[in-house]
């Protein structure tokens, strides 16, 4: 599942996901009819619309292959939000089954495939922003472990890592001041550690943070975790 953001803006993130999976000997299928996980309407309170989009997605991703997403947020939508939206619906079991097959990419590499470390090299000081929707999932630890294991990487700890960046989907436009202030606080704490790269498992957070930073006049060097993994090496490791 490529996510609507990567479909529209961040094609290289979807491509990196594709390339990394292929490099591990996995066949990647990209259903043409996919659109979005339904989260915008779900978070916006329009659950009736959200359910229509979720059902479309369910339809597109029939079968039993794992569904891999380069976003902790869209993954959480699939295994948590969609269930909530369907809690009183008769097709809840199908939604549950769909959710159970959905993985955020780094979680999949680390906990699905059991990869413990990543070969390659990247000489960089890296700050990692854990997106809020991956709270309580395997993703934050997976990103830290995999990115942290790349030779040459120094992980940086910034203050108040648990604080939200302020994106929050429609929240970012209906609460522009609060959202902007939240983002600037995050940028300040990240910048204080002087990173070469700010890495996350969600492009939405990075788009918001970099958008704010650019508006302030100095862009942030941001990258999705899967781009970092791809770029660090070309030759695959063997999977246990």
């Amino acid at each position: 599942m490529m996510t609507c953001l990567c479909d529209a803006f961040f094609d290289d993130v979807a491509r990196a996901t594709h390339e990394v999976l292929e490099s591990l000997g996995i066949e990647v299928i990209v259903p043409e009819s996919q659109t979005c996980c339904g989260q915008p309407a779900f978070n916006g309170g329009d659950w009736a619309s959200a359910r229509q989009v979720i059902r479309h997605t369910l339809n597109v991703f029939q079968g039993d292959c794992p569904i891999i997403v380069p976003s902790g947020s869209c993954a959480a939508m699939s295994f948590h939000g969609a269930l909530l939206a369907h809690e009183k619906e008769t097709d809840l079991p199908q939604v549950q089954a769909f959710g159970a097959r959905t993985w955020e990419i780094c979680d999949f590499l680390r906990n699905g495939l059991g990869i413990e470390s990543w070969e390659g090299r990247l000489d960089a000081r890296v700050a990692i922003h854990s997106s809020c929707h991956s709270r309580g999932t395997g993703t934050p630890e997976a990103i830290r472990t995999l990115v942290g294991s790349i030779a040459g990487v120094t992980l940086l700890d910034f203050t108040q890592p648990e604080q939200c960046c302020g994106f929050g989907g429609t929240f970012s436009v209906t609460f522009p001041h609060i959202s902007g202030s939240m983002g600037r606080l995050k940028i300040d704490s990240v910048r204080a550690t002087h990173p070469d790269l700010l890495v996350s498992g969600d492009m939405s957070c990075l788009m918001h943070l970099n958008g704010l930073a650019e508006k302030q006049g100095s862009p942030l060097p941001v990258k999705h975790a899967i781009q970092v993994l791809r770029d660090a090496r070309v030759t695959p490791v063997t999977v246990q």
Binding site: H18, V30, Q34, T35, G45, L84, R135, G168, T170, F175
Partner: protein, 470 residues
């Protein structure tokens, strides 16, 4: 079209207030984390257990409420029930009047804020003083608490010193010890002259009827020591099944609220003064207050009634930190208030508070710190859905209409066309953006360049290559 009310409030907020709130709540979060996990490495499983105990109590509230009533009566207390705010105020007034009481002390109780007891009693000519220092300052200022545990988190000490000066409690002095000493001296006289004392209760054990009251200043004990009559206002959700549950709850409450292993004073009160006791109120009245709780219990957001009012969710909430408690226009601020306030308002007034559940980026930090593991983000989402279904206007201020986007998202051909067309024209298709209108986004941020459909193209070519390796 205007921005959401809470965002406007945050935008206008005085910088000093914002700094106080931000600093106070961030410090609270940090202290909680250190103390809770320092003492109880398995805190997360304890939170889950506490949540289950409270949930169980709520699901059998009829039974536990009856049991508590019976025990309290056995213990010599009188038990009353108040359906709504008006009846709760009236019952307190009647109790005081029948006993010829005019001077009253009151320790911190959030339910009394809900029913606006202070205003009611003042209008009826009673002399009531708040004995919690924070609440006392709020009372002097004619203000409202902006946090459930730290009611004056929005004030700094120079403001407090000015208030004291204005109210004749001494010349301007912002030394915290002086402020506390002056309050203490003032309060002592009140404790001695008041004949009745009003308290809340943090927990009530259905097994023994014990009320558990925690304070850090001992003000509730002082109030009760001098009073003939004790009136406890208790929301019906405050029950726990047994005394044993109290130990778990107390272990979590102090650590979550203020980063203390235990609050300084913890009282257990099961009835009025016993014959062998040397002091204490001769009469004890417990008023169980409904005020919207049964309707909340009947809703699909009943988990919020587990809340033990620790304030950890507001401390950690990035929206609360930016906007302060008063932004929520109700007694309960922060994530707790964003869920509870619209529900307690009842179906008749739900719409008035329907914007509160929108005031969240759904980051989930509140759920992560909640000592009774309330899935606050899920409840916020359910309330958003409800506000949408009920067409509550407050929820729609500035909210993008997601219908066009949803139409597109379930019509893959149109979706793809829109991606490609926009790519060719090098524009961002507005209907495509779930977070539009675009200007709202770009007022604060830049937008990355549009690359709609590029990955699809790449993937299609890659597939071709793989199928016909040349």
């Amino acid at each position: 079209m205007s921005h959401q009310q809470i965002d406007q409030f945050a935008h206008r907020l005085d910088k000093g207030v914002r700094d106080s709130v931000l600093g106070g709540s961030a410090a609270g979060t940090e202290k909680r984390r250190q103390v809770l996990f320092g003492d109880l490495p398995n805190a997360d499983s304890l939170r889950a257990l506490a949540g289950r105990i409270k949930q169980h109590t709520l699901e059998h509230l009829d039974r536990y409420l009856e049991a508590a009533e019976e025990r309290l009566i056995d213990n010599g207390a009188k038990v009353h029930f108040a359906w709504d705010a008006a009846s709760a105020c009236q019952q307190v007034e009647t109790l005081l009047r029948e006993r010829g009481v005019r001077q009253v002390t009151k320790s911190k109780t959030m339910v009394s804020e809900e029913i606006e007891l202070n205003r009611h009693l003042a209008e009826k000519g009673f002399d009531l003083v708040e004995t919690d220092l924070g609440e006392f300052i709020v009372q002097l200022d004619g203000d409202h608490p902006s946090h459930v545990v730290k009611p004056i988190i929005h004030k700094n000490r120079s403001q407090i010193a000015k208030t004291f000066e204005r109210c004749g409690l001494g010349d301007y002095n912002d030394d915290p010890e002086t402020i506390t000493r002056r309050a203490r001296e003032y309060m002592r006289r009140k404790y001695l002259s008041a004949e009745a004392s009003i308290t809340g209760a943090n927990f009530v054990s259905a097994e023994s009827g014990r009320l558990c009251i925690v304070t850090n200043e001992g003000n509730s004990r002082f109030g009760l020591a001098g009073a003939r009559v004790h009136i406890a206002l208790v929301g019906i959700e405050k029950l726990v099944p047994d005394d044993r549950s109290l130990s778990l709850m107390l272990n979590l409450l102090g650590r979550s609220a203020t980063g203390q292993n235990l609050t300084v004073y913890t009282e257990f009160i099961r009835g009025p003064r016993q014959p062998e006791a040397i002091s204490g109120p001769e009469e004890m009245h417990v008023i169980f207050v409904n005020a919207g709780r049964t309707e909340t219990l009947a809703s699909d957001c009943r988990e919020i009634l587990r809340c033990i009012r620790c304030g950890a969710c507001m401390n950690v909430c990035p929206v609360y930190r930016q906007s302060s408690g008063h932004a929520y226009r109700s007694v309960y601020p922060g994530p707790l208030g964003a869920v509870l306030s619209p529900l307690l308002a009842g179906s008749a007034r739900f719409a008035e508070f329907a914007d509160l559940p929108k005031a969240s980026s759904l980051c989930g930090a509140c759920n992560e710190v909640c000592p009774v593991d309330i899935p606050i983000p899920d409840l916020l989402l359910r309330l958003r859905d409800r506000a949408h279904r009920e067409h509550a206007p407050a929820a729609f201020d500035d909210a993008p209409n997601l219908k066009p986007w949803a139409m597109l998202a379930k019509s893959p051909a149109a979706w793809r066309m829109s991606l490609r067309a926009a790519n060719m024209l090098n524009i961002v298709p507005l209907g495509f953006l779930p977070f539009g209108p675009l200007g709202r986004w770009t007022s604060q941020r830049t937008l990355p360049s549009w690359r709609g459909g590029r990955y699809r193209q790449w993937a299609a070519e890659r597939k071709k290559q793989k199928n016909n390796p040349s």
